[in-house]
């Protein structure tokens, strides 16, 4: 596994570093303009891009025609699938650390003193990174099996599902004074007020969906032809 990770770092360092640089610059600009902005904003910026990096690496390998060479090298297909999931966690962890550092330095600079780390809003992490890691987990089996086409199909299915949900919401509206958007806002507020519950809830959801996605990916990739 380590040699596969090293290999990826050596071959795709540019594809890995560049998104970090862009995200850090954008995050920096946001945080400097408003040092009190929730970490959630900053992390969202990073998390929107970073968990998808392993998918981008996979697609790059495929388009360059090197995926078959990689599969033929001594390393199981299971290890290759695991590598992509480990990379997603690793890249997100790096992103979250950088986001914390970015926010902390901006807040410290604004306060003209070192702000203690614990004032940073950790709920933001729970509310953004984990659901976005779940977003990574959803199209991954499709991508590993059918590459770019699979990714497009995964998003198309998601789009249809969202349309279906919106349709159902219109068909079955909640009571007039409540409304779905208000109920959702209340739910988010509740999560913000109860960071412990939010974090553990997202962690549980993340673990279940990530595991299901991983198992599906193993199945999808093991039967793939090169």
């Amino acid at each position: 596994m380590l040699n596969l990770l090293k290999r990826d770092l050596k071959l795709h360092w540019c594809a890995m570093v560049l998104p970090y640089v862009i995200v850090m610059l954008v995050m920096g600009a946001i945080v400097i303009s408003n040092p009190d902005s929730a970490l959630a904003v900053a992390v969202t910026m990073g998390a929107l891009v970073i968990p998808f990096l392993p998918m981008a690496i996979h697609l790059r390998e495929n388009s360059q025609g090197t995926l078959a060479d990689l599969v033929a090298l001594p390393g199981s297909r299971k290890a290759l699938v695991s590598l992509r999931y480990i990379e997603a966690l690793l890249f997100s962890a790096v992103m979250v650390s950088l986001a914390h550092l970015d926010t902390w330095s901006a807040q410290s600079a604004a306060a003209h003193r070192f702000v203690p780390f614990d004032v940073l809003d950790r709920t933001g992490f729970a509310l953004t990174t984990m659901p976005l890691l779940i977003c990574f987990a959803y199209p991954m089996p499709f991508t590993l099996r059918w590459n770019g086409k699979g990714l497009a199909v995964a998003f198309a299915i998601l789009y249809v599902l969202i349309l279906g949900i919106i349709g159902l919401m219109r068909l079955f509206p909640l009571k007039e004074h409540v409304g779905y958007s208000r109920a959702f806002a209340r739910f988010v507020m509740y999560l913000m007020d109860h960071p412990g519950q939010a974090t553990s809830g997202f962690l549980a959801l993340f673990l279940v969906l990530f595991s299901v996605s991983y198992l599906l990916s193993l199945k999808a990739f093991s039967s793939r032809e090169f």
């Binding site: 078959a68 599969v71 033929a72 001594p74």
Partner: protein
């Protein structure tokens, strides 16, 4: 000699093309040539052995182990060269060596350097800037530098100039001096196999039509040239293919022994080459071209 690779009743169906019921043994201490026309199924067979394609049915055993078990230890003992290697285009040869080395505990840096020097590989040039022949030489150097017990080479000599081709073939002969090693070498250039292969397997339209020790195969077949009367005589039963031209009939006949007495006096009897076996086997004699 033991079988390092055993293929049993292997099937793979693509719809328009099918590899059907292939049985093949690759023995240690020998080079086995897999020969056939373009599209005969050579690359498909090698991909199945490498695990790049899952078979529809059948079994593949490498070093006595089931090849489907996805074993890392098993793959570490295999060296491979794929047809038109597509290694990492931006990496120079030296870096490619370093990268591949991390996957093989038995990597021999000295052997890699020796091969790079033998093939005159430009170590600092990115792979994408190398010619087709030099790319193939790079892939060969990588495959031959980790002391693999089984080499699976898909058209390794295509795109190489005659001098380098000869060097590569000599290198393969050197590999099998160690009687525990074997080479499975696919090609449509039969002259390469004439030079080095001890065993030959001929694929035609996805079927293994002939397989065995090269010399025994060549001795057990005969090429008969003569007039139209050949096809109506006793040879017809032994005929497994042929060609009709304006000059007469050429037939590939099974069982070279005793065939002479069945021949008309003006017929010619020749020992077929490997190319003749590939070309004539299963070929229906056609009507001469009208001019």
């Amino acid at each position: 000699m033991k079988n390092l690779l055993e293929i049993r009743h292997l099937n793979k169906n693509y719809g328009s093309f099918a590899l059907q019921n292939v049985d093949l043994d690759v023995r240690s201490g020998a080079i086995t040539g897999l020969v056939g026309a373009n599209g005969a199924g050579k690359s498909t067979l090698l991909k199945l052995v490498l695990g790049l394609l899952p078979p529809d049915s059948g079994e593949i055993f490498i070093f006595g182990q089931d090849a489907m078990c996805d074993s890392i230890a098993l793959r570490q003992r295999i060296g491979f060269v794929q047809e038109s290697p597509t290694l990492y285009s931006h990496l120079p040869v030296r870096e490619l060596g370093r990268m591949v080395a991390s996957f093989y505990p038995a990597w021999n840096e000295a052997a890699f350097k020796r091969l790079c020097s033998l093939f005159e590989l430009p170590l600092k040039t990115p792979f994408s800037k190398l010619s087709q022949g030099t790319r193939m030489k790079t892939a060969l150097a990588l495959a031959l530098s980790h002391d693999a017990d089984l080499l699976l080479l898909d058209e390794p000599t295509s795109g190489l100039d005659p001098l380098v081709r000869r060097e590569v073939l000599e290198l393969l002969l050197e590999v099998i001096q160690d009687e525990n090693k074997a080479v499975l070498f696919s090609t449509h250039i039969t002259s390469d196999l004439d030079r080095v292969a001890g065993h030959v397997a001929i694929l035609k339209n996805g079927q293994l039509v002939l397989a065995g020790a090269k010399d025994e195969l060549l001795e057990s077949w005969a090429l008969v040239k003569g007039g139209e009367e050949l096809f109506s005589g006793p040879l017809k039963d032994r005929c497994r293919g042929g060609q009709r031209t304006e000059l007469g009939l050429t037939l590939l006949c099974e069982g070279a022994e005793g065939i002479k007495r069945l021949l008309p006096s003006d017929a010619l009897l020749e020992r077929p080459s490997l190319e003749d076996l590939v070309y004539f086997h299963g070929r229906e004699p056609e009507a001469p071209c009208a001019h």
